[in-house]
Symmetry: D2
Subunit: 357 residues, 4 copies
């Protein structure tokens, strides 16, 4: 930590600061320039971070030298984190998995329709919301446990592991029971209690970037999860809030190579929520893969205009099929490939697939 003293600080103020810092176990190093005196502090990172330096008399500013995250950092672990979800899908490897499905689970039949179509395309993971965070209390809030059951049944039917959002620590056991991957939504990226809870599970967690979260805050939230023991964290860029109104949010693709540099965790991209409009999704999905994304999360619905939420941003299965064809060569061009489940089209309704088989 570098402390810059005010030009008019007194010798007493400097002495007081140094004394208090040393009492906290920090080593200090004073350096007097022509215009400013600087105090370097060396010691435990967690202590360094916590001190309200500018509330000391005579202090002008404080500049942290170390990044505040540890476990999520590439400095801590150099190699990419890799892990399996179900028998066919790996995160963090060369192949790029696609998570697709409806925003919300709206009923058994429509979910089956969507899942069958995605399965046919070889999509390895199914998403679907059971508990929906909606801006309005009068909007459809999700089917809750019933939706989880439908998803679980569809997993039996298709073999696709399922991804669903958890909004409330009280739903933990319920969601854990049914889901293969838990998702923390953008509005809960700093719901630290929820992070702490999922940090104690043994299932992968998709952590979505808060819509106004800095990269540093995003990684600190992942650090919450890892600090509790769960290393299977998937970071998901999903757009940040800016002044632009043509798109719902602004997809920050530079977060992808930046995160890949700072952390060993897999980084995926959700263009659907970032853009909020279906017409721009194909181009931005191609761009996400070119930027180095380790996975994709895309909303698909068989009849978007009947969707109970986010219809305006949902691809149809045909749209998804078309997008896959366009994605293949781009993935190849950057030395990757799409993770599609071979032979998926041979599994049909009625055939049971063992979970974990």
């Amino acid at each position: 930590m570098i402390i810059v003293m005010k030009p008019d600080h007194t010798a007493d103020e400097l002495r007081e600061l140094v004394m208090k810092m040393e009492k906290l176990g920090l080593k200090t190093h004073i350096s007097k320039g022509e215009r400013r005196t600087i105090v370097g502090l060396i010691g435990d990172r967690d202590i360094l971070q916590e001190i309200p330096y500018t509330s000391f008399a005579g202090v002008e500013s404080a500049h942290p030298i170390l990044r505040p995250y540890k476990l999520v950092s590439r400095e801590f672990k150099e190699d990419n984190t890799r892990f399996q979800v179900g028998p066919n899908c790996e995160f963090g490897g060369k192949a790029i998995p696609i998570i697709a499905g409806p925003c919300a689970v709206e009923g058994r039949e429509v979910l089956e329709e969507i899942a069958d179509a995605l399965h046919e395309l070889g999509i390895p993971l199914l998403r679907g919301g059971a508990f929906k965070p909606r801006t309005s209390p009068y909007s459809f809030q999700g089917l809750g446990e019933m939706a989880l059951k439908f998803m679980s049944d569809v997993r039996e039917r298709t073999g696709m592991p399922v991804v669903t959002e958890i909004m409330d620590p009280r739903d933990l056991l319920l969601v854990y029971k049914y889901a293969d991957v838990l998702q923390i939504g953008t509005r809960n990226m700093q719901n630290f209690r929820l992070l702490t809870e999922v940090g104690q599970l043994d299932k992968p967690v998709i952590l979505k970037r808060g819509m106004s979260a800095t990269i540093k805050e995003f990684l600190m939230s992942a650090e919450y999860i890892m600090s509790r023991g769960n290393g299977k964290v998937i970071l998901c860029e999903r757009g940040i809030r800016t002044f632009e109104t043509e798109t719902r949010n602004t997809l920050d693709l530079s977060a992808v190579p930046l995160l890949k540099q700072l952390t060993h965790l897999p980084v995926i991209v959700d263009p659907s929520h970032a853009l909020g409009r279906v017409d721009l999704i194909p181009a931005m999905t191609l761009a996400a893969v070119a930027a180095g994304a380790d996975g994709l999360m895309i909303e698909v619905h068989v009849r978007p205009h009947e969707a109970l939420s986010d219809g305006a941003q949902s691809l149809t299965p045909e749209g998804m099929a078309n997008l896959i064809e366009r994605l293949r060569p781009v993935a190849k061009a950057v030395g990757r490939e799409l993770l599609l489940v071979p032979g998926a089209h041979q599994v049909r309704a009625g055939e049971k697939v063992e979970a974990g088989a």
Copy 2:
């Protein structure tokens, strides 16, 4: 709702749209201009809000005419909402209450020191964090129930009702038991489950604006609380996230007159978290009152540089005393006054004040 059709839409697309809208019970009204055809939709606001218009073929854009909130709206209730907190303090009236105290409760003694000093100044409400949302998992997370007990004891000692943040629905009973006012923090403004829970209580709730929440989203979150029956909602502007880095966030004071126009709920301002630095707090507190704030929330600590969180933005009691003297004439200048508890300085440690007396 106004639907604008694309210039090249077909007659079939228009017919399809109209048919579907009428099936949903909406009345439609087509108007053909030179360059665009427009479809007006009339019907239930909640239905109108939910339809993904742009996923219909031929639709260019959709423009809502009605604001999406009801219960919180001035259209719904014209007069200012007013309610008491404890015997001495009212929100929504002419007098402006100040809520002051430390960011986090750090121990019994330091809390007593702070509370006594504030009580001496006539401050009507004490704030203090028991559960702290911290960016880092390695930072001080609050003393939990112990902090609540300390606050409750200090209420006994000073008669000051206490305000504290709730972060987790599982803490509801605990926090309800000890606190007079519950606070929903900026990171939980869209924690809809938590909103739903506090909406079922009979105690006032301070709802802080999310740091990247629009005014509309802010009011929709208040609507969540009111829709469950709790009408005692206090809206708190606490700064929004912008590109400026000299201050932690940008205090959006225009939210005050804007909210006063849109809603009947009291609107208070927290300059401490918005600015993150103590030197700008006095000027911005004066400005908040001039802008029409119905209350203030300000961090005060007896020894800011020892504070375990947010020391850099805490006033000392002397700073607070000085600020009160500067606030008085400004409040008067805009036809208001500070709500200070008369005779507070006569209550001393050891004298017991009955809660509710």
Copy 3:
């Protein structure tokens, strides 16, 4: 400047960096911590600012210690800058001048009507646009020199010095000839050529904050003007661009106390352009004065709905009169007063007032 080396930098990289810095005349100071090696650089501020530190091999980050501005800084000049505009108006003093008038000069008669009404109210300075920066090439672009002549004639008539915007260095002589104060608009805050030009004049310049300019950039633009010799710079906060759409921009009032701390230059506030809607202007003008503004700039039109630009944000003279009555006690409450020209109401159309008299 503090340079932080990467954890894996080589001794050669460090040596190379130090050598190059010393060649540039900088003193270096190496300090090895447990996790990072730090290089402190001392020397000429302008040289320090210009070096692309992170393009050196082995460098992780660079942290400037000194602020980049000089002449505009309080460190350079401690006392408030004060100067006269015309015989009756001073900037930088205790009294707060109001600059009022239409967005654009639309014709001789309407300008006279507005100016007479403002003069009647004691407003000391008249604003009016001759050259208008408009988003659309098809919008009214201002009357140009004719507008300047009308303003000049109105100055004869009322004695009010006039403020107008300059958009193009080629208009310099023209605008200089007619205007008493030149304004640089928000879109030209970083039109460095224009800044350099007005920096060579002997007339005051109102520099508006760019709508996405940081405080640092704002002051650097003022530095451009001062570095050419013109010390009569008035800084004007006029709203910054954020995600909020209820107001045109977000008025950043915290910029007022912050700027007053960093610079000796007067700081004024333009609530009209920040808010873009007339209903919020009174409250935010009161707040601006409470925050410490040294002046105000407010759009006034006799018939806002006929205005050729910015009608939606213009007060009527009656609105302005009412606002003055509300402003007086607030100014007094913060130890200031409004600068109103006494006896103004006795000057009438037809009576000639000598410029400078």
Copy 4:
């Protein structure tokens, strides 16, 4: 235009509004809903845009139906605009030209070194700043005409057409004389006078998006240029200002497919200025091409750490060569190709290439 009346508007207010609108030549259409009365206005787009609707008594809000731009719009011209720059380079076609070179021209020799290296790589266009917009008045401001001469000489030497920024209308003839493509920088996107001037030229103009400009404003600035007759406008996304500080700005790649949908003009991407750091440039350049960019603008310097501006974001020629190899397959994957000048490596210093040959 759709006007929404306040719920408590009077019949007189409505009548007054309608009367005034019809006087302006607009047709009105009143529609009374349960909660709101709506007035539709039909007529000339430019008139519709200019009226300050909310300054009329009884009006709650106004909603424009038509986009405000014409000439730049796909509605106006369906096919992509295509044009040549020099004998070898086309914008708007299938092949993607790269514009590369130093931020600023720093001297004849270093420019020749850079240009030769780029020419060797087949880069079709050379960029270099003669007039530099710098935040600080004490920073290197460019070599002015001397830089233009060096660029012109290098064009002779290599055959590469040159791109340079114009900041001041007074430099128009000078820059026109030497440059093949004129660039309007991000800070001048709304320098409407400059736009008007370059709108009268017959040379292509690269218009950079203002760093806080909406897509609508961006297109309106292009409309300024086209409305004066110059249809050779190239739109350049170069990052927008957000709260994120790890990158200088946030590259908004979704602007690429969005602009391609709204306008027929070519859209290029400048990752260098958006990111401000060289390490993220390769990944984001690949992403730009995948997103559909029609061209790229990339800073290259032979010795970035000696660059007088923007060294931290400059690739070396080796970095550029490597990037080209990575770009080729991505371009191909999206049905495009890089526009590289074949045989470029055979042209050597000393051989004169005729301009336009």
